[in-house]
């Protein structure tokens, strides 16, 4: 039965040598940030554990997570998708469609009750009973609740499923909510990013498969292995930041010299992700490497912290767009005006009293 094959069986069936199999295990351990002594554990798990069934749901989303996922280079996507994880339901990638596909989802939910991973891409429309996101004739809200009920764990792919992303940016017309707002009784791994790095996605799945537990999570529910440090901390332009050498505009000498993009609104100092370590598309580059400031796409509500090309976000204040400095200066002005007015009243009052006193004495 194919769904009970182990990873090693799959490798063997596809003619991959044991040497390459061990290479894959070593690479995976590196991506997971594990010590070399953990490699035998990975090998053991890959050889003995049946593949973990995965149900992959799509809600309100743009499919950029899947686009990123299929560009994984270590391991390559062909191996990953057809052989490594048992991706039993994915309405984007499955060959089947309609009733057949929905039947498959129900079969997995029954046969692997409490054992399958539920991967969720996109978030949930909650307004008007979730009518703004209908999949397979039912609202995504219902589908998610139904499928999550018997899942072992949930992986929230991307910023949508993790924090909400553009759908729940102000004013959030469809009432979009991240998975953690809907499902409260299941362990959830948040893998934010718009999209997340493909190796991060495959790394999280491999961790669960290898150890049978979720990876260590940080305070926001993200795997520490990939989201423990900021882009800024590992940025190759950090030396320019410390030196105070900043790009002032996009078309000058400093840009060509590759100085720090801090003043161009780079959100690297406040963004937790692995872009500056693992990089993208098999280590080709990442936004800052291509000369563009980080927009902080893996941080909560990053759409409402804009504009992207300013350090200081604009926030609504007294009905207009403002920022911390404008609000501060306004408040200082108000305090100064208040003090001046108070001083004036004091002076007038004092002068009057003295006049009064003089009259009394006279």
């Amino acid at each position: 039965m194919q769904s009970n094959q182990t990873f090693a069986d799959v490798f063997k069936a596809r003619g991959v040598s044991r040497r390459d199999f061990l290479k894959f295990c070593s690479l995976t351990s590196v991506y997971l940030g594990l010590s070399p002594s953990m490699v035998p554990n990975i090998v053991q798990a890959m050889e003995n554990k049946p593949r973990t069934p995965v149900i992959w749901l799509h809600g309100l989303e743009c499919t950029c997570c899947s686009e990123s996922f299929i560009r994984s280079s270590h391991p390559s996507i062909e191996d990953l998708l057809f052989n490594m994880i048992s991706l039993d339901y994915d309405d984007l990638l499955s060959a089947a469609a309609g009733t057949q596909l929905e039947d498959q989802r129900h079969r997995i939910m029954k046969e692997y009750k409490g054992k399958y991973i539920l991967a969720v891409e996109g978030n949930v429309s909650t307004k008007d009973d979730g009518v703004y996101c209908m999949v397979g004739g039912d609202s995504f809200l219902n589908t998610l609740k139904e499928t999550a009920a018997d899942a072992a764990a949930i992986i929230a792919w991307g910023s949508c499923a993790s924090f909400g992303c553009v759908q729940n940016a102000h004013p959030n017309p469809s009432g979009a909510a991240p998975v953690s707002d809907i499902i409260k009784d299941k362990p959830i791994v948040k893998v934010p990013g718009c999209p997340p790095i493909s190796e991060v996605m495959t790394g999280v799945i491999t961790h669960f498969h290898t150890f049978g537990t979720l990876p260590d999570l940080d305070r926001l529910g993200r795997p520490k292995a990939f989201y423990n440090t900021r882009i800024h901390d590992k940025c190759y332009r950090r030396a320019f930041f410390d030196a105070g050498m900043f790009v002032p505009s996009f078309d000058d000498e400093a840009t060509r010299k590759g100085w720090c993009l801090y003043k161009m609104g780079c959100k690297g100092p406040t963004t937790y992700n692995s872009c500056s370590k693992i990089q993208w598309n098999g280590g080709t580059s990442f936004p800052i490497g291509s000369g563009h400031p980080c927009i902080g796409c893996s941080e909560p509500n990053f759409w409402d912290r804009g504009p992207f090309y300013q350090r200081l976000a604009e926030v609504p204040f007294l009905g207009t767009d403002s920022n911390a400095d404008k609000i501060g200066i306004l408040a200082v002005g108000a305090a100064a005006a208040g003090a001046a007015a108070h001083a004036a009243v004091t002076a007038v009052k004092k002068a009057k009293e003295e006049k009064h006193d003089n009259k009394d004495n006279a």
Binding site: D242, G244, P269, R311, A313, G328, A335, H342
Partner: protein, 227 residues
């Protein structure tokens, strides 16, 4: 002019030292903080290795921040265990309705010109105590906690991160915490304006030499003017 009829030793040395160290720290922290948010100066073209344009400002910010924290903790100790009549929390009881009653209302009315006589306090009057509680106690506490949380971001799992990192999810992410810290820094100029104005005004109206009292420690009672 009225004669000085009494000299009162109000601000003891620890309080005066705290005041001036605090003032210096806050000014430096505000200045360096604003520079870190919007670095205006830039080094000439060259190799990054020779310059510390941003690192130096951040270093100053952190050094003064730790002095500021130590100074704040010292003041808390003094307020609680210093046995200092005018420098302790004793008179400040915002949880008690009676505190908001006569003494606080009287002082507010006086500030709003609703009564002609000035209530006389040797230490802080109730309105000043409230202002200090909001700006100095709550303000400093917030700036210290948020600052340490951001400081801890450099070293995940370290002391600062373990003890103060919870501020980051509380404010919905690192960026929002930075933003709020930045916004909070504007408390300083607002407070300084109100503080200096109130001090000068009290000195002119009550003639208690409150301005020099933070240097000498002494306030004066003057004779009612016979005119």
């Amino acid at each position: 002019m009225g004669r000085i009829i009494e000299e009162i030793y109000v601000w003891r040395l620890p309080v005066r030292l705290y005041h001036w160290i605090n003032a210096l720290c806050m000014l430096v922290l505000f200045g360096t903080g604003m520079f870190i948010a919007a670095p205006l100066l830039s080094p000439p073209l060259g190799e990054a290795v020779w310059y510390k344009g941003m690192a130096w400002w951040r270093y100053l910010h952190f050094v003064f921040a730790f002095v500021f924290i130590a100074n704040f903790l010292f003041r808390m100790y003094w307020a609680l265990f210093g046995n200092d009549k005018y420098g302790r929390f004793g008179g400040f009881r915002p949880w008690s309705p009676s505190w908001w009653g006569t003494p606080f209302r009287e002082q507010v009315e006086s500030y709003l010109f609703l009564r002609s006589d000035e209530p006389n306090y040797v230490g802080h009057n109730p309105v000043a105590a409230l202002a200090h509680f909001v700006f100095i106690f709550c303000g400093s506490t917030f700036m210290i906690f948020s600052g340490l949380a951001m400081y801890g971001e450099n070293n995940p799992g370290g002391f600062s991160d373990l003890w103060f990192g919870w501020m980051i999810p509380l404010f919905g992410g690192s960026y929002t915490l930075h933003f709020t810290h930045h916004l909070g820094s504007w408390m300083l100029p607002i407070y300084v304006i109100m503080h200096l104005y109130a001090v000068v005004r009290h000195d002119v109206v009550d003639r208690t030499s409150v301005t020099s009292s933070i240097i000498t420690g002494y306030k004066h009672k003057v004779e009612e003017e016979p005119m």
